[in-house]
């Protein structure tokens, strides 16, 4: 099976290049994921660098651009990919080495939405309770694993990564806006005002297309807009 993999080592290379690699078919099983193949390739050439951890689509470490589409290598079946499989780092963020990218711009926007519960009531003896209906409001929002597949597939995030929060951070914002225990709705909505933080989203839904957890950041952004309209009237 043929692979074409983005290679860049800033210590030796002046420019990135695509490297053609071949994995012997005898090594490939039908139920293999792309990550398994990358690990076999790394056994052949140990300088090949990428992040990985759980291998189950839970940790979100191995987000990469696979045949032009962002996804997690560990849950992308090899059999589903046309060859040569073109593997590149997530687009729009600085490359540290090979498939490893610097996600600091992404995390900075994540931190900017205060992704934690803000509640100024005295801490109760027991947990802060929610009804099943209130808990249901968080479905489709809390499952995000911060793999960055969505934000790095969003052209608005490519053009303005310092000003536009991006789909992942906005999904988190929606998650805490929807939380019945959070008391900072007004401040959160106020913080999102302005032409850049939220309104660079032009609803092209690249984020929905690539999310490996099947989440819908575009709908979450729409809900935030609804709340903003209600707040202003």
């Amino acid at each position: 099976m043929k692979f074409s993999i983005y290679r860049y080592n800033p210590e030796h290379d002046t420019d990135p290049r695509m490297q053609d690699l071949v994995l012997d078919d005898s090594l490939i099983r039908s139920d293999m994921m792309l990550l398994d193949a990358l690990l076999l390739l790394k056994a052949q050439d140990e300088t090949l660098s990428f992040r990985r951890s759980c291998g189950e689509g839970v940790c979100g470490s191995d987000g990469m651009n696979i045949n032009g589409r962002n996804g997690l290598a560990c849950i992308t079946p090899l059999a589903s990919l046309r060859t040569p499989v073109e593997v590149r780092p997530l687009p729009g963020v600085p490359v540290i080495r090979d498939l490893i990218v610097d996600l600091e711009p992404f995390y900075r926007q994540y931190r900017a939405v205060s992704p934690y519960l803000i509640n100024n009531d005295p801490v109760p003896e027991v947990e802060r309770r929610q009804s099943p209906e209130q808990r249901e409001q968080l479905d489709g929002l809390y499952e995000c694993i911060l793999c960055a597949c969505c934000s790095t597939s969003c052209p608005s995030f490519w053009w303005n990564p310092d000003k536009f929060l991006g789909p992942a951070a906005l999904l988190q914002s929606a998650r805490f806006l929807a939380d019945s225990r959070d008391q900072a709705t007004d401040e959160r909505l106020g913080d999102l005002e302005g032409p850049f933080k939220l309104f660079r989203c032009h609803t092209i839904m690249n984020c929905v297309e690539v999310c490996p957890k099947g989440l819908n950041p575009t709908r979450a952004i729409g809900r935030i807009k609804d709340l903003m309209v209600k707040r202003s009237t």
Binding site: P155, E193, G194, P195, F196, F199, V229
Partner: protein
């Protein structure tokens, strides 16, 4: 330039003007097809009716507002040098205002 600092207001303006544009265009095309006016006098009489004139003036305003938000979005997305961005926004604004004035002049002249 307060509209420049507001995201929600411009976004709402784009949505509302979009709805008006869609409703007006559907109505005008449907009305034109239904009545089959073939002479200049018939067209003229239809368009200078006060209700139609006001609706058309609203259409022009909505189109200018819609165009402004759309062009502003493109410029905010792609032009990052502040001076160039301001220059482009001013150019777009002037073009839209001039187009609007010209269109309103046509309307007023038609209404006689």
């Amino acid at each position: 330039m307060t509209s420049h600092t507001h995201g929600l207001r411009t976004w709402l303006l784009q949505r509302l003007s979009g709805i008006y544009l869609a409703v007006y265009l559907v109505y005008v095309i449907a009305a034109a097809m239904q009545h089959g006016r073939y002479s200049y006098a018939e067209w003229h009489a239809w368009l200078v009716h006060p209700v139609m004139s006001i609706a058309t003036a609203g259409f022009i305003l909505a189109m200018l507002a819609h165009g402004w938000v759309g062009m502003r979005d493109v410029i905010l997305d792609y032009v990052h040098v502040l001076s160039v961005r301001l220059l482009l926004l001013i150019l777009v604004g002037l073009t839209l205002v001039a187009s609007g004035l010209w269109a309103l002049r046509v309307l007023l002249l038609a209404a006689g």
